[in-house]
């Protein structure tokens, strides 16, 4: 006798389709939704910079050893992950890219050494610059140079961690 059971659950979403043949893509609905997202761009730029401010303030608390360091680390990671998850929806691909790298750098990290702190500051400064100059898309050659520079910093931090150097 098989250890697995197959259950054909009721398909409640049948009601969401009219007709039985190939479904037509509702291009108008998608365009309408894309316009709605576009209309949120200005709001996004404001709340994203607020998030960045919270990230900076949390980082300052971490460095000043104020509050629970682990909680501060979790907060910084969460903000970076949120910023990664929103930037490109509003045309700020570079913010998504930078925040992605920062989130990966912070994830599962309990503490930050002196050079690690420089890495965090560089990512925050890079995102500040993207908003200050309103850089949309991938930022072209400047964007690639920026990402390349941040990547080198992360590599250097990893190399220092590997060799036991902390500053």
């Amino acid at each position: 006798m098989s250890d697995s059971q197959i259950i054909h659950a009721p398909h409640n979403l049948k009601k969401a389709k009219i007709g039985t043949g190939p479904a037509k893509l509702d291009a108008k609905a998608i365009e309408r939704a894309e316009r709605v997202v576009k209309s949120m761009e200005k709001d996004y730029a404001v709340w994203a910079q607020d998030d960045l401010g919270t990230l900076e303030a949390t980082f300052a608390r971490y460095r000043a050893r104020t509050g629970d360091p682990a909680e501060n680390m979790r907060t910084m990671f969460r903000i970076a992950l949120d910023m990664k998850g929103q930037g490109a929806s509003f045309g700020y691909q570079l913010v998504t890219e930078i925040a992605d790298r920062l989130a990966a750098f912070l994830e599962n990290r309990d503490t930050l050494g002196p050079f690690d702190c420089e890495v965090v500051m560089a990512h925050v400064a890079a995102m500040r610059a993207v908003f200050a100059q309103d850089v949309r898309g991938d930022g072209g050659g400047t964007g690639r140079a920026l990402i390349g520079g941040l990547h080198k910093l992360i590599e250097k931090a990893a190399a220092q961690a590997g060799s036991g150097t902390t500053s």
């Binding site: 697995s4 197959i6 054909h8 389709k17 998850g85 929806s89």
Partner: protein, 200 residues
């Protein structure tokens, strides 16, 4: 002469529950859903609140974030699938996540999600996930260690001819520009995520 009517999706009569601890993300998702025609939307900022909401809101689809505290998105999916007081263990769940590494997608699949959508999202990508759930209902599998949608949908689907016709029912969407399709530093693109979920 018979008039052939083009099939289409009608999202205005489905109920959607959005779970995300970030209020801006909830706002983005709800705005997109409204524009796509969904009228009945509830939201929750944590898993416990969402599970409570499900007791009286008859959701047809859940859109759920992964990284939350104290319970994360995977905990919530497991609650919906296996808790004794779950109102509907078969609810379709779309997981939205900034985590897009291979192991994460596999983890989400093994928790019992139906679809996985990488953040940042786009209206088109979200619509596509709804289309997938509507067109491709999957049987559920119960084993000693898993309860959820069939993770081998290619192997346990309907007979080959039917499966091919169903696959063809979803209009092919053009490649996703920008949001939702770009791989992260070490993550999978949305296309890669879908390939993984379909070839498990």
């Amino acid at each position: 002469m018979a008039v052939v009517t083009q099939s289409r999706y009608l999202l205005d009569n489905i109920n959607v529950l959005v779970l995300d601890d970030n209020k801006h993300m909830r706002s983005i998702v709800q705005s997109i859903l409204h524009a796509l025609g969904v009228k009945n939307i509830r939201d929750a900022s944590d898993a416990a609140e969402a599970f409570k909401e499900l007791q009286h809101f008859h959701a047809d689809v859940i859109i759920c974030d992964w990284h939350m505290e104290p319970l994360d998105g995977l905990d919530f999916v497991r609650l919906v699938r296996t808790a004794k007081d779950s109102p509907n263990p078969y609810l379709p769940i779309i997981m939205l996540s900034g985590f897009t590494e291979y192991r994460r997608v596999v983890e989400a699949r093994d928790a019992g999600v139906n679809e996985f959508l990488a953040k940042p999202i786009s209206a088109r990508a979200l619509y596509q996930r709804f289309a997938s759930i509507i067109e491709n209902p999957r049987p559920f599998i119960r084993t000693k260690t898993y309860f959820g949608p069939d993770r081998r949908r290619q192997n346990l689907g309907p007979p080959r001819g039917v499966a091919e016709r169903r696959k063809g029912e979803i209009e092919k969407l053009p490649p996703e520009p920008g949001a939702g399709s770009e791989p992260g530093a070490d993550g999978l693109s949305q296309d890669q995520v879908e390939a993984l979920l379909n070839k498990a």
